[in-house]
């Protein structure tokens, strides 16, 4: 009973902590969104005064979306126009599964076009890049047409397995993780008394922390060992990708852990493991809550069934929202300079974004920890025996 109470308190504490950070973030976000709208208005007014064809109003939403969504090429620096320095963009492979089999080409074939104007022809099929989504034009069509909501009407999406910016980033994180931990494991083998050295010395306290503070209290002394590889892998996988997202230059800076596909996959894996670990009591608890009168049991059953799915969904949204929010805030702060169109706001922008970055360093570690801890908690609940 005591352990239960402790768990709940711990959870409440974490949620409160999280809420604090989130509330703060929301406040800042709303503040800057307000400013950005204000800026928009100014921009449009100015645009009306001296109208030049080249100067488009600065669109903060497009800029931020461009940075936090996935793309088929990795933009390193510069812009695509011919200004100095010349833009550098790493092109990445596009892999599509179509009715004619696998189609592969480099993303540079699109020549940085994301409006669907450049058509790439492979295996008799025509492909366009529409806002970093590959569409396949229908037979006999040579120009993409849109409906009122700017949806293409004569093109469909093939199964897209491209190595996008996020996938590239993920592979990089894998290489880093493998390097770090295999080196660490080797440092144990080298020493005669099982003492780590170098990077292993740095990683051991974290590994021991996951074991003693996450796995054992939530899963239990007897069964935790089976789950340790999963918990450690997911913790370090999320953490390293979070940290890589914070580093603002190539080959990092992609928003992988703030991508819903990524968090969806990890949450689904946690959910599947929870289901496979589940004992009789877990299902009894959900379908026929023990120790309650029958009407109450009937009332709780649908709630518990929904709760079963809400848990992984919450995992997915929590990580996605926190990391994306962090990126959005930093980008908004930097965009402030361009929205207000003055260099004088730069010191403030930089100061604020530095401040948020420092908080983000903490947040990304906490988010990785929370994902791991809640996964362990769900495994523990699934494994619980009748008492």
């Amino acid at each position: 009973m005591n352990v239960y109470l402790h768990r709940i308190l711990h959870k409440v504490f974490l949620i409160e902590k999280l809420m604090q950070i989130n509330t703060f973030k929301t406040f800042l976000l709303s503040l800057f969104l307000t400013i950005s709208f204000f800026g928009y208005a100014v921009e449009i007014k100015e645009g009306n005064i001296d109208k030049t064809e080249d100067e488009k109003p600065f669109n903060v939403k497009d800029l931020i979306f461009h940075h936090i969504t996935d793309s088929h090429s990795f933009h390193v620096y510069g812009n695509t126009e011919d200004h100095f320095p010349k833009a550098l963009t790493i092109s990445l492979p596009v892999l599509l599964w179509t009715e004619n089999g696998l189609v592969t080409f480099m993303s540079s074939e699109f020549h940085h076009d994301v409006e669907g104007k450049t058509i790439v022809e492979r295996k008799g099929l025509k492909f366009i890049n529409l806002h970093e989504k590959i569409y396949q034009l229908n037979d006999g069509v040579s120009v993409v047409e849109f409906d009122k909501q700017t949806h293409p009407t004569n093109a469909a999406r093939p199964a897209d397995f491209s190595i996008t910016k996020n996938v590239f980033s993920m592979f990089l994180s894998m290489i880093l993780l493998l390097f770090i931990f295999i080196t660490a494991a080797r440092s144990y083998k080298k020493s005669s008394s099982n003492m780590p050295s170098g990077i292993g010395k740095f990683m051991e306290p974290i590994i021991v922390f996951i074991r003693d503070e996450v796995a054992i209290p939530n899963i239990g002394e007897k069964k935790y060992e089976k789950y340790m590889p999963f918990l450690l892998t997911i913790f370090f996988f999320i953490w390293i990708n979070n940290v890589m997202g914070l580093i603002p230059f190539f080959p990092f800076s992609s928003n992988l852990s703030g991508n819903i596909s990524f968090t969806f996959t990890l949450a689904t894996i946690t959910f599947i493991i929870t289901l496979f670990s589940s004992r009789k009591y877990y299902w009894k608890h959900i379908l026929w809550m023990p120790g309650l009168p029958v009407p109450m049991k009937l009332f709780l059953m649908p709630i518990e069934i929904i709760g079963m799915f809400v848990k992984p969904i919450a995992l997915m949204i929590r990580l996605f929202a926190n990391i994306t929010a962090g990126h959005v805030i930093i980008l908004s702060l930097i965009s402030l300079i361009f929205i207000l169109n003055t260099i004088w706001v730069a010191p403030l922008s930089v100061l604020f974004s530095l401040f948020i970055s420092v908080i983000e360093v903490l947040v990304v570690a906490i988010q990785a920890y929370i994902f791991t801890m809640l996964s362990a908690l769900y495994f523990g609940q699934a494994l619980e025996e009748e008492h």
């Binding site: 199964a159 931990f181 494991a185 892998t233 990524f262």
Partner: protein, 166 residues
């Protein structure tokens, strides 16, 4: 699902699943198992070392306690021996004293008895001598008295008078 932020992409889901599976497999085999094994082994080693140190300490304590006990016992024994010796000495002295006293008493008693009996014998002798002497004197006195008739009469008269007075 127009917002690209909240629409999952099949490709990324596929690559994430694959990457995570590969990562989990390789790290489990080449990193987590050796690292966790080494940590556990080391922790066990430390635990064992601590336990044996504790045991050694306990043994040491026992040994010291034993030594202390033996020393105490020896001291007590010596004390007891000394005490006994002293007692024996005292007893011997007092015994000797008693014996001497008894002996002396006996001798005095014997001497007393001998003196008493000598005294008695002497007294008896003296009494006999006195009696003989008295008889001799009485004979001589009676003879002298009875040689004169008047004196005889007088004596009778005196005796009669005494008898009347009675």
């Amino acid at each position: 699902m127009d917002n690209p932020l909240v629409s999952p992409e099949l490709g990324l889901i596929f690559w994430t699943t694959l990457s995570f599976a590969i990562l989990l497999f390789i790290l489990k085999k080449f990193a987590w198992k050796p690292i966790l094994g080494a940590i556990t082994e080391r922790e066990e080693g430390i635990k064992d070392a601590l336990a044996s140190a504790e045991k050694a300490k306990l043994e040491m304590e026992n040994l010291t306690a034993d030594n202390e006990r033996i020393l105490k016992e020896a001291r007590a024994e010596r004390e007891a021996l000394l005490k006994e010796a002293r007692e024996i000495k005292n007893k011997m002295i007092s015994d000797a004293k008693d014996e001497a006293q008894i002996q002396a008493g006996k001798m005095i008693e014997q001497a007393k008895t001998a003196i008493e009996s000598e005294k008695k014998a002497a007294m008896a002798e003296l009494k006999n001598q006195v009696a003989e002497l008295s008889v001799d004197i009485a004979e001589k006195v009676v003879r002298a008295e009875l040689s004169n008739k008047d004196r005889q009469l007088k004596l009778v008269e005196d005796i009669l008078e005494e008898a009347t007075l009675n």
